[in-house]
Amino acid sequence: MMYSEKVMDHFTNPRNVGEIADADAIGQVGNPKCGDIMKMYFKIENDVIVDVKFKTFGCGSAIASSSMATELIKGKTIDEALALSNRAVADALDGLPPAKMHCSVLAEEAIKSAMFDFAQRHKRDFEGLKGYQPPTGDEDHHDHGEEE
């Protein structure tokens, strides 16, 4: 497991750790069974993300991905946030080891999950949520990326 300096930086000094008491949207993905849970809290004004915080139970790259993803979407619109791919998160971290790519997927999914929450609360539709299915606990049992 060799992480880039960026990953180590965001792991050591994660940005946006914490909770938002009166969040406008909350997203949670992952499964403690798999050793990873990512929870994100959003303040949203006029469809712009004015604040975002996260809490993550997971490996180094999950923490770094949470940190980087929240940085990337802070101040962006909901549509821009929904357009963020896990690869963009990984690239912004100067890459992740192949077995760790799924940790960045969690970040993408946490954002989607929160935006879905926001959409539900406000009965809104977003282009980026088309076909989105919220995760249902146990099913979200991801492949740990082991090679055969």
Binding site: K39, K55, F57
Partner: protein
């Protein structure tokens, strides 16, 4: 400060061991199978190493067969027995907490038409002798129970297991890769038929191991070919490695009791201080029947890899679960087998001590770890103050 606390993953080679190896990495390069003088020194060196290891096990030198490591020894013992005895029976008994070298060999045999019983363990990692007795069937051909567990350090009642195996005339193999070098094993009294050991766990080189095969026990070869190792394990001998193994084994057993006492004291100090300093912590493995160098703790609400990374940043090398699988984040099968939930299994940390470990190092870890755990808990959605 650099603190290595992962001696169960592997150990550094001791200077005396390397010194013994050096001639065989330089001038003494002959093949022991060769008739000429170039080969003769190599032959002598292999014989000498075999004697050294035999002595530590109170075995005869011709019961010791060198292999390319502990995993090969495990695979050889298990598959070799299975294939040799398959006309007699196809049932094997092992435990749920074996090293993957045993588990995956058994799982492979299941696909090849063998039946395997995986004995459960209690919350301390011990198997039940009654379970074992109940599992033995008329077609049971092998019992394989590890001497001491590599993750949680629990030591099994090997002598009692061996006696049960004898009573039922079933061959008994023990994976002693972690126990060898720490515990006395007298094969004249211990009713075991096969013992796997590995050099790199006791300050010898990596890539060399051995199988103790009791005289008269016949199993199939795993590696066929030339006549090396009395035709039981083919391949040009890793002379330097074998010499290093012999020397390391000799050194380990010169004063194994003092070694044990010293490490036990350090281990208990480390464990007690950490458990005091960090709430929501549990000790994994048996409180008493455990390896003198093993501390395994679960810290609730956090995940192991992030702990390892944080420790690494302050120079501390440790492991979460077994080194072999830490590339993956599947929770350790051993921790699940002793009843830990997945969440808690993920937050486990193994600190294993060794001959170079000092009190100063222990103190350093006791100072560094608690804030790391706290920081990760503060980041965890599972943790509520």
């Amino acid at each position: 400060m650099n603190v290595y606390l992962d001696y169960s993953a592997t150990t550094p080679i001791k200077p005396e061991v390397l010194e013994a190896m050096m001639p065989f990495l330089t001038q003494q390069y002959g093949n022991p199978s060769s008739l000429h003088s170039f080969g003769r020194e190599s032959r002598k060196a292999v014989d000498n190493a075999r004697d050294q290891i035999a002595k530590t096990l109170n075995a005869s030198p011709d019961e010791i067969f060198f292999t390319g490591g502990g995993s090969e020894a495990d695979n050889w013992a298990i598959k070799g027995t299975a294939y040799a005895l398959k006309s007699k029976g196809r049932h094997i008994i092992t435990t749920a907490i074996e090293h993957h070298a045993v588990l995956h060999a058994c799982e492979y045999l299941e696909k090849e038409g063998f039946q395997v019983t995986y004995l459960p363990v209690d919350e301390n990692g011990l198997i039940s002798l009654d379970d074992l007795k109940n599992a033995i069937k008329s077609d049971t051909i092998l019992i394989s129970v590890m001497y001491a567990n590599n993750e949680i350090g629990t030591i099994q009642p090997i002598e009692e297991i061996g006696r049960i195996a004898r009573e039922h005339r079933v061959l008994f193999h023990t994976d002693a890769v972690q126990a060898y070098g720490h515990l006395e094993m007298d094969t004249k009294n211990l009713p075991v038929d096969m013992i796997s050991i590995s050099a790199h766990k006791l300050y010898g080189p990596k890539g060399v191991g051995a199988l103790y095969l009791r005289k008269g026990v016949r199993i199939h070869n795993l590696i066929h070919g030339g006549g090396q190792e009395k035709k039981k394990r083919a391949g040009t001998e890793n002379i330097a490695g074998i010499v290093g193994f012999g020397k390391a084994a000799e050194l380990a057993y010169i004063d194994v009791e003092t070694h044990d006492q010293r490490l036990t004291a350090l281990r208990d100090d480390l464990k007690n201080q950490l458990m005091e300093a960090i709430p929501y912590t549990r000790l994994n493995g048996h409180p008493e029947r455990r390896l003198c160098n093993n501390v395994n703790l679960s810290f609730e609400f956090i995940e192991g890899e992030s702990m390892l990374l944080s420790l690494d940043m302050v120079g501390i090398g440790a492991s979460s679960g077994s080194a072999c699988t830490s590339g993956s984040l599947d929770p350790s099968h051993v921790l699940l087998a002793i009843g830990l939930s997945h969440e808690i299994a993920h937050g486990s940390l193994r600190l294993t001590l060794g001959d170079m470990t000092t009190q100063e190092e222990i103190d350093y870890v006791v100072k560094q770890l608690p804030p790391i755990v706290q920081r990760l808990r503060d980041m965890s959605p599972l943790y509520e103050q």
